[in-house]
């Protein structure tokens, strides 16, 4: 169970990226499945070739920025529907990720990574590791909170809320969307780099269906812990991510097959979207907001 929480806290960085696009920008970004693997691929190949793990992880973040930036360009300058723009980048990234990795799987077991010190000290799977990963996730959360309350961040929030209004105050909504998508995918790729180092390999398929894990974390977290103000909402995302991994772990222990996990994630998200339509659950604000975000963007774009 501790391992599940550890994983959940690392994945929280990805979930915060998903939160930035889905909830703040109101943009259903599917680039995530590709950019996560891009982050893992970039960091792994660099580490294998002797680059310092910190530098390799930062390079992964930069690669994610570029991936999101491209989706943003396709959507704003290319006027391509948002969902489709994300899918295009995601699929193109599959080939690019293979090019970066050179083969479908890159083992990192004998390399020095960011996780090595924890592993050597025997701290993985202990409360100490949870504290380390928890602090890391909270650090990312606080940076995101801070950013969203700057002049630039307020403009980004308003872009997701009322485009006409924010344009009337001199903000290019195109630029805000591109920036938001870039930052979001930067976080997702950063998370991919950390997961590769944590599990000791990068795999070409490791990002498949990840967007659902991100969405489920955001939905579960905000339904349970609330979303009234941003500092609460982003904390809810971090906790939601940990909770999501715990639920998956429990499902596995109950005898479900690991191959069923994607189906379970999908069902979880569907339930979260459908439940708020029933009167009984209407008061669960987080859920109905999420529903609004998802269905509204789907219909608009």
């Amino acid at each position: 169970m501790i391992v599940a929480v550890e994983l959940g806290l690392i994945y929280a960085i990805m979930a915060l990226g998903v939160y930035l696009t889905f909830r703040i920008l109101n943009f259903p970004d599917l680039t995530v499945d590709g950019s996560f693997t891009t982050g893992a691929a970039v960091a792994s190949i660099m580490i294998i070739n002797g680059a310092p793990p910190v530098l390799s992880t930062l390079a992964a973040f930069a690669a994610g920025l570029v991936a999101g930036w491209i989706t943003g360009l396709l959507h704003t300058k290319g006027k391509i529907n948002g969902l489709l723009a994300g899918i295009l980048t995601m699929i193109a990234l599959y080939s690019i990720n293979l090019r970066i990795m050179g083969k479908a799987n890159l083992p990192l077991l004998r390399e020095d990574t960011l996780i090595t010190p924890l592993r050597d000290a025997g701290l993985l799977g202990t409360v100490a590791a949870i504290a380390v990963f928890g602090l890391l996730a909270l650090a990312v959360k606080f940076v995101l909170d801070w950013f969203l309350h700057t002049d630039l961040g307020l403009a980004m929030q308003a872009t997701g809320d009322n485009e006409e209004m924010i344009r009337s105050f001199g903000v290019s909504t195109d630029r805000m969307k591109i920036l938001g998508l870039a930052l979001s995918n930067g976080l997702v790729a950063l998370c991919g780099a950390l997961i590769a180092q944590y599990q000791g390999f990068a795999d070409i398929g490791m990002g498949i269906g990840l967007i659902l894990a991100g969405l489920a974390s955001v939905i579960i977290g905000q339904a349970i812990f609330g979303s009234r103000v941003i500092i609460v909402a982003s904390l809810a995302v971090v906790l939601g991510s940990a909770l999501y991994r715990v639920v998956i772990q429990l499902a596995l222990q109950a005898g479900l097959n690991p191959n069923d996990m994607k189906l379970i994630s999908a069902v979880l998200v569907v339930i979260a979207l459908v439940l708020p339509q029933w009167k009984l659950f209407k008061r669960v604000g987080g859920l109905s907001n999420m529903k609004k975000a998802l269905s509204a963007t789907g219909a608009r774009s």
Binding site: T150, L154, A155, N162, F169, G170, V171
Partner: protein, 263 residues
């Protein structure tokens, strides 16, 4: 201050749905002039405002603000010159954000936005002072989400946000039309005050002829994409609602005459 020169705008040109919204419009506003715009539905009032704000591009002609030709600038690039209040009270504010955050966004109108905190103690004090002028008690609700405010409160806030950074031009498109009479009165009174206070060059569209005569320093009437009546302050003071209604009748009569002549 604002010069609209030889502007034409036709929607769906060359199709069966072709619709000339503006024909050869020439309109100049001196600094501080407050023009009310009336006219029947589809006369082109909103289109003039949209051409000025950059939401629409004219087919021909130019738009100049304070000597700068802005015809080719997108709406967000012109925003530093222009404050806008929309007809829909929901349109001018960001509902999921707080009052102070909305005001912080407006405060930075047209400036480069960086990584400085959006709301600071100093700005908050200034926002509170500004909100007091609305006399709606909003100065005590800085952290309330704007989505929780009533339509009238939101429209008053929109007006404040559109004006407190002193834009060169203020555009108001039926901004009191969606409010109940009492709220409409309030927002219309606030409009007069704020335009006076900042000496704003203003274009205000309204269907309320009494309001069009009472507010402003000049009145224009539009019909089928043309300006057909232009009254300066003196003429406007002598004009009554009945006179304006008479003008409307004349237009309709004219249209009838045309038709009878064709037959």
């Amino acid at each position: 201050m604002l010069d609209i020169t030889n502007v034409n705008k036709t929607f769906f040109a060359g199709t069966v749905n072709e619709r000339a919204a503006l024909r050869e419009i020439n309109l100049s506003l001196a600094a501080g002039e407050f023009v009310t715009v009336i006219g029947s539905n589809g006369a082109g009032k909103s289109t003039i405002l949209n051409i000025t704000s950059g939401k629409l591009r004219p087919d021909t002609g130019t738009v100049t603000i304070d000597g700068t030709d802005v015809t080719k600038l997108a709406d967000h690039q012109r925003a530093r010159y222009i404050g806008r209040v929309f007809q829909d009270p929901m349109a001018g504010t960001s509902p999921d954000m707080t009052i102070e955050q909305n005001m912080a966004i407006a405060y930075e109108r047209g400036k480069g936005r960086g990584l400085r905190p959006g709301v600071t103690g100093k700005k908050r004090g200034f926002f509170q002072e500004e909100l007091k002028s609305l006399e709606l008690g909003l100065e005590n609700r800085l952290k309330a989400k704007v989505g929780l405010l009533s339509g009238g409160q939101r429209q008053a806030l929109s007006l404040l946000m559109a004006t407190f950074s002193s834009p060169k031009i203020l555009l108001l498109d039926e901004h009191t039309a969606a409010l109940d009479p009492q709220r409409a009165d309030l927002v219309s009174r606030l409009t007069a005050e704020v335009v006076e206070r900042h000496r704003l060059t203003t274009l205000m569209v309204t269907h309320n002829m009494e309001q069009a005569l009472r507010l402003g320093t000049r009145l224009i009437m539009m019909h089928e994409g043309r300006i057909i009546l232009d009254l300066d302050q003196q003429q406007k003071q002598k004009t009554t609602v009945a006179d304006l209604l008479h003008e409307f009748e004349k237009i309709k009569g004219g249209a009838l005459d045309d038709r009878t002549m064709l037959q």
